[in-house]
């Protein structure tokens, strides 16, 4: 038990001295993950939707070449950024600019570089998620949209994407939580996130383990709060969970089914002045 009470004391001691640094690290981590995920989603949606443009073998050659090229470019982007570690991407992008310009141009802030890396990385994953979300929408929905004369873009906007978003919402949350943790590699380009604070603190105090405990608790707190909030959002998007049939209205039972005993006319509600319930 002695070790545990010592640990608690160490943690309290560290907190007393470095709490503002830890907190500002957490703030940076949350901000970077949030901005990166939002921008990544935008990239993912754009790429995913472009990827879903139907390839029509009867279309003019120029259009077919364009679609093929577009798909190849997106494919390449996804494979490269999904297939390399984010820590390497960070270093790669951060040092590419000064290398090519002989030091004349460099990222003015690590924030810009970090946001760029996280967004591009998340975008690669989201592209695939969006593609999956679009594929998982019943093809009949597209046919229904085509049949009333909607264009591909209109069908996407009003029918397919709203349904796809619901399918990929858990994936967006997943990416956000992954980003909360994985932004810890941004210390490589001297971004001061939560994990970078740990490195700073242990550099000064050598209390590796107590600081790691604080980090563990801090990261868990951030991810648990995030999952809780994401679940709330999902529930809201889902709407009423009721799959009950609307059978309470007596008109359905009679409309067009039974005939009037005297006039032999079909029952129906012809009230043209019906204004709905809203």
């Amino acid at each position: 038990m002695g070790k545990f009470s010592q640990l608690i004391q160490d943690v309290i001691r560290l907190c007393a001295k470095y709490l503002p640094m830890y907190l500002s690290g957490m703030k940076n981590t949350v901000l970077l993950a949030l901005i990166g995920t939002v921008l990544g989603c935008i990239i993912g949606f754009i790429c995913g939707v472009l990827n879903a443009i139907p390839y029509d073998t009867n279309a003019p050659l120029g259009r077919r070449v364009l679609i093929r090229t577009l798909r190849a470019v997106i494919r390449g982007y996804v494979e490269v950024f999904r297939g390399t570690p984010m820590v390497l991407q960070a270093v790669f992008i951060y040092y590419a600019l000064p290398y090519f310009t002989d030091g004349a141009a460099r990222f003015s802030s690590v924030w810009a570089a970090s946001i760029l890396v996280v967004s591009i990385n998340t975008g690669a994953y989201m592209t695939e998620s969006v593609r999956g979300g679009i594929i998982s929408v019943d093809p009949g929905q597209v046919e229904g949209a085509m049949a009333i004369g909607l264009t591909h873009i209109q069908a996407m906007m009003y029918v397919i994407l709203p349904q796809a978003v619901r399918n990929i919402l858990p994936q967006i949350g997943n990416n956000y939580i992954i980003n909360l943790k994985d932004t810890s590699v941004m210390f490589m380009i001297s971004f001061t996130d939560f994990f970078a604070v740990h490195r700073g603190v242990v550099g000064a105090t050598y209390s590796y383990f107590p600081s790691a405990v604080i980090e563990m608790i801090g990261y868990l707190t951030m991810t648990l709060i995030s999952s809780f909030l994401l679940r709330k959002v999902e529930q809201r998007m889902e709407g009423s969970s009721s799959f009950e049939l609307v059978v309470s209205d007596p008109l359905t039972l009679t409309s067009g089914v039974y005939r009037h005993p005297v006039s032999e006319e079909l029952f129906k509600e012809r009230s043209r002045d019906y204004k709905g319930k809203d």
Partner: protein, 247 residues
């Protein structure tokens, strides 16, 4: 009553891979026609409707809509599809939209009607099919018969010149078939031009002005329903209708 045809199908063929599904189909749809297309499964009935609506691209042949070939249309295809309504076997209502939004989407986006105008018109049409009280319901809350009536309303809301029905009652349980057929019967009485792929022989016989019998991608026989159902000329038609003829 000879009238100018709305749709003329000329030498239409459709091949999936090496499998010919439609072979040299010729037929017309005139204003006020109610055409029932009957035939065994896999005979190409549905593909014929889907070709007319350009959901499938015909392999060869022409389809004239009011005298104009629609098989080579570019961006006009969207306006054309709005003039030719389609009702599917599996309803294909937009699951993310309420009943009334299902009926206004095309009016607003394709016909460019104002939202108020579209909603007003959608309510009128929905009350024709007995679905006005469900304006704000989502499709998943409706029974199959109700969904199909909304789907019919969605097609009608665009004021199409002809509505194509692709086995509209095949996915419904027997108790719900009646309410959909009643709506269709009423449409027919009001003079709506319709082409119906169906297995409901009673409907084909009583409601339609003309019956087309298809088998193996070919129109085997076409004619007056009473004649075709009582005294089919073609041997294959006789065989197919055997069960009904004996009744």
């Amino acid at each position: 009553m000879e009238m100018e045809p709305i749709l003329e199908v000329r030498h239409l063929s459709k091949t999936f891979g090496t499998n010919p599904v439609l072979k040299d189909i010729n037929f017309n749809i005139c204003r006020g026609d109610v055409i029932s297309v009957i035939g065994p499964s896999g005979s190409g009935k549905s593909t014929l409707l889907r070709c007319i609506n350009l959901l499938e691209t015909p392999t060869s042949g022409t389809i004239l809509f009011r005298g104009k070939d629609i098989t080579g249309l570019g961006n006009e295809v969207f306006a054309y599809r709005a003039k030719v309504g389609m009702v599917f076997q599996s309803f294909n209502l937009f699951d993310n939209l309420s009943v009334i939004d299902n009926c206004t989407l095309g009016q607003i986006r394709v016909l460019h009607r104002s939202r108020e105008e579209a909603q007003e018109y959608a309510r009128q049409i929905l009350s024709l099919v007995g679905m006005a009280p469900y304006c704000n319901a989502k499709p998943r809350q409706l029974s199959g018969g109700q969904k199909q009536r909304v789907a019919i309303a969605r097609a009608m809301a665009l004021d199409p010149e002809v509505i194509l029905f692709d086995e509209p009652t095949s996915a419904l349980d027997p108790e719900l078939v009646g309410e959909v057929l009643d709506v269709m019967r009423e449409l027919a009485e009001q003079g709506m031009t319709m082409a119906v792929v169906t297995h409901e022989m009673a409907f084909a016989r009583q409601v339609s002005s003309r019956v087309v019998f298809m088998d193996e991608g070919v129109i085997m026989e076409e004619g007056d329903p009473e004649e075709l159902f009582t005294d089919p000329r073609n041997e294959r038609t006789r065989e197919f209708l055997g069960r009904y003829l004996n009744q």
